[in-house]
């Protein structure tokens, strides 16, 4: 283990944990805002009680998101000094946008929302939560601008060995970013839907507050289905674009070793999958499907890992330009498989809701509860593929990961990795317990119980 390896583990683990929480936050804030809006529109107190109930969970999740996000601000400088120097100029504008327009707005308006219940006018209070929701999405956009530049650098020139921004429009608005943002935001809404639905199903299975939880479960299945289908659509076109922009990533995701025309789409493979060119001994493929995804032709040539490796050597000099194929291959399948399962779940849920059987279908309630784990696995798969498939580059074709790290001793990185994981474990464990106890209390009352002031007034 070198300090580089440990820094990569640290970044990978802490970022995956952070992103898992962020996805839930974006989704939950949106759903809570939606519930409050329905109360505001209809005056139906069920929605107010649901707003409070899910709002509690949202606050805890949001807090964990903020806590795990703190490290991200420092991590680039701590472990990745070379990377920071190289990309700082490019990241300046998106980071300013994220810090000022997203974090700040989130925190101010979340504070106003939490502490302003009953003190602010209802419309202002409702506006606060929608502003928080918009800010979470701006935050996602800003980070994905930076991340997309690492996948597909544009709008820059190299000055003194560092990238310098020359065209902000090219960096902030392009197809790669548009598709990525759509994919991430729709998966976040889908994640929110799964969580909202799962929690509702726990309560429905217990048979408490069936009318309120039934209503929110129906809402979550419909929005979840739309979001999951949209996420899958955006993901499909991301894949098509990646075949053009990052062919090595897609070849690894498909364990596609040899250049073929037409090329098949692998469904399932066993064995092989190493960086050495040993193709898997079992590989179930859909004929010509990969060619079709490449450019909608059933016979086009799709370059394989071996050819791409040779091309990279010719262009960048000798070296290993192949990512960890087995990890990419299975990450891809976990992501797609998870998405397909969730689409099926939501579709069945919509069908049951349409016929009025959702609240009573015990196997569906159980399935929806178990499904709460799926979005986390799918998201982790997606990020592993996106970031792992770019290796050995940290900025595709420009900066190698092994020259991007800080000059720090292996013990310092090991110590910090251990300390962060220990603290994260305590925080996640405590937050999980808090969530469990908060949610098991059931729906809160629409109006707070009379407090000391009221008692005093009556007694006087």
């Amino acid at each position: 283990m070198t300090s580089l390896d440990l820094a990569r583990w640290q970044f990978g683990l802490t970022t995956l944990l952070h992103f898992a929480i962020v996805g839930v936050s974006i989704g939950l804030v949106f759903f809570v805002a939606l519930m409050q809006t329905r109360y505001h529109r209809t005056g139906d107190e069920r929605w107010l009680r649901l707003t409070k109930y899910y709002g509690r969970a949202m606050i805890v999740v949001f807090a964990v998101g903020v806590v795990t996000g703190l490290l991200q601000t420092f991590q680039f400088g701590l472990n990745w000094a070379g990377f920071s120097r190289y990309v700082g100029d490019i990241f300046g504008a998106p980071l300013a946008l994220e810090g000022l327009a997203a974090f700040f707005v989130e925190s101010v308006f979340l504070g106003l929302w939490i502490f302003g219940a009953g003190k602010l006018r209802p419309r202002i209070h409702l506006a606060c939560i929608w502003i928080v929701s918009a800010a979470t999405m701006i935050s996602a956009y800003s980070i994905l601008v930076a991340n997309s530049w690492m996948q597909h650098p544009v709008g820059y020139e190299i000055v003194d060995g560092r990238a310098q921004l020359t065209d902000v429009v090219a960096v902030m608005f392009n197809a790669t970013i548009g598709l990525t943002v759509a994919h991430v935001l729709f998966t976040s809404l889908m994640t929110g839907a799964v969580i909202v639905l799962g929690i509702a199903c726990v309560q429905l299975k217990r048979g408490v507050e069936v009318s309120a939880f039934g209503a929110v479960a129906r809402m979550a299945t419909v929005i979840g289905l739309v979001a999951a289908l949209a996420a899958a659509g955006a993901g499909h076109f991301q894949g098509v674009l990646a075949l053009e922009q990052q062919p090595m990533k897609m070849a690894a995701a498909e364990a596609h070793y040899e250049t073929e025309a037409p090329a098949g789409l692998s469904l399932f493979a066993l064995g092989g999958l190493s960086t050495e060119s040993v193709p898997p001994f079992l590989n179930v493929k859909v004929p010509a499907a990969l060619s079709f995804l490449n450019n909608f032709s059933l016979s086009s040539e799709v370059r394989g890992i071996e050819q791409l490796q040779r091309e990279a050597e010719a262009r960048y000099g000798p070296g290993d330009y192949t990512p960890f194929v087995a990890l990419m291959y299975w990450s891809f399948r976990v992501m797609v498989g998870g998405g397909v399962l969730l689409i099926a779940l939501f579709a069945v849920g919509c069908r049951l809701a349409a016929t009025g059987r959702l609240e009573r279908s015990r196997w569906f309630l159980r399935a929806a509860m178990c499904a709460m784990a799926i979005p986390f696995a799918a998201q982790a798969g997606g990020w592993l593929l996106r970031e792992g498939g770019r290796q050995p580059w940290v900025v595709d074709g420009l900066l190698r990961t092994d020259v991007a790290s800080s000059d720090v001793s292996v013990w310092a990185v090991a110590g910090s990795l251990g300390a962060f994981l220990a603290v994260y474990a305590v925080v996640f464990w405590t937050a999980a317990r808090v969530l469990r106890s908060e949610l098991s209390h059931g729906l809160p009352a629409a109006r707070p119980a009379p407090r000391a002031t009221a008692d005093l007034a009556l007694g006087y």
Binding site: V66, F74, A81, G88, D89, F104, S107, Q164, A419, L456
Partner: protein
């Protein structure tokens, strides 16, 4: 200004101001956290800055993220060279954040541990930032008389500010303030000598109840500005003239800041004023009830 010209000078000034906002406003929050266990009504203490403390930590996030954007080389240098210290600070930030958010929901026994963790992490954060800023002045070893002095001085100034804040909001803390001020002043003067800046002596204002919050807050806030004014353009061995981002990026960042900063300052001020009379303690609640009757 700061030995720099044009946009890099503007951004160094902005960074100094944002750091000052963090240490001035957030410093009082750190002080409140340090005092969590000193009062019986712990919830009232933690609620006193409930609506604003998280936002004050965002000033820190903005300061650090904007350093990456405006002076990438400087960001890379101090974070990687002060590796262990920064890791300790980040851990303390995480623990304090998580503690304040979760403590209201955990059992009484776990709450004891979390409140201890909040106190320790608040001290570690304040001392840590004092050390970082003293180090910025000359570089060299992170563990020196100057850095430790500055760290302790900043933490004590924060404690005074926190006590003054509690005094104002929930009516407790006057005694804690009176008892901390003399020690805080001694350290502030020593740190002022070490940092070659007389401004840290502003802590002396904290003897006057009405000026205490301003005095201690300004003494904490002035540290980054004084260090940058003294050290720039070479901060901790990094030449900011060379390490600044291009004018194109800095122009964009300036436009974004000019559009958004006034709005968020207004929103932040609104949050502060809106919850000025947040009833924190039972006494306050009862007093309000009585008022309603009249």
């Amino acid at each position: 200004m700061f030995g720099l010209e044009g946009l890099p000078a503007l951004w160094l000034l902005l960074l100094g101001v944002v750091w000052a906002l963090y240490l001035g406003l957030g410093g009082a929050d750190l002080g409140v956290s340090m005092l969590t266990r000193r009062f019986e009504d712990r919830t009232a203490v933690l609620r006193s800055n409930g609506a604003t403390w998280a936002t004050n930590d965002v000033w820190l996030v903005i300061a650090v993220a904007a350093t990456l954007g405006a002076f990438p080389g400087w960001y890379a240098a101090w974070l990687s060279e002060l590796y262990v210290l920064v890791v300790v600070i980040v851990l303390a930030l995480i623990v304090r954040h998580a503690g304040i958010e979760l403590i209201g929901h955990v059992s009484a026994r776990a709450g004891e541990w979390w409140s201890r963790a909040i106190v320790v992490s608040a001290w570690a954060t304040a001392i840590g930032w004092g050390m970082v800023w003293a180090w910025m002045l000359r570089g060299g070893s992170v563990l020196s008389a100057q850095t430790v002095l500055a760290g302790v001085a900043l933490a004590l100034a924060c404690r005074v500010a926190g006590a003054a804040y509690l005094e104002r909001r929930v009516g407790v803390g006057a005694e804690a303030r009176r008892r901390t001020v003399p020690l805080a002043l001694v350290f502030a003067v020593l740190a002022g000598i070490a940092l070659e800046s007389p401004w840290t002596g502003l802590v002396v204002l904290a003897f006057v109840p009405r000026l205490a919050l301003w005095g201690a807050g300004l003494a904490a806030a002035i540290v980054p500005l004084a260090v940058l004014a003294a050290a720039s353009p070479r901060v901790a061995g990094v030449d900011l003239r060379v390490e600044a981002s291009g004018d194109y990026t800095l122009t964009l960042m300036t436009v974004i800041a000019a559009l958004v900063l006034p709005l968020i300052l207004a929103a932040h001020a609104f949050a502060y004023s809106r919850f000025k009379r947040e009833p924190g303690s039972l006494v306050e609640l009862m007093r309000r009830g009585m008022e309603q009757l009249r």
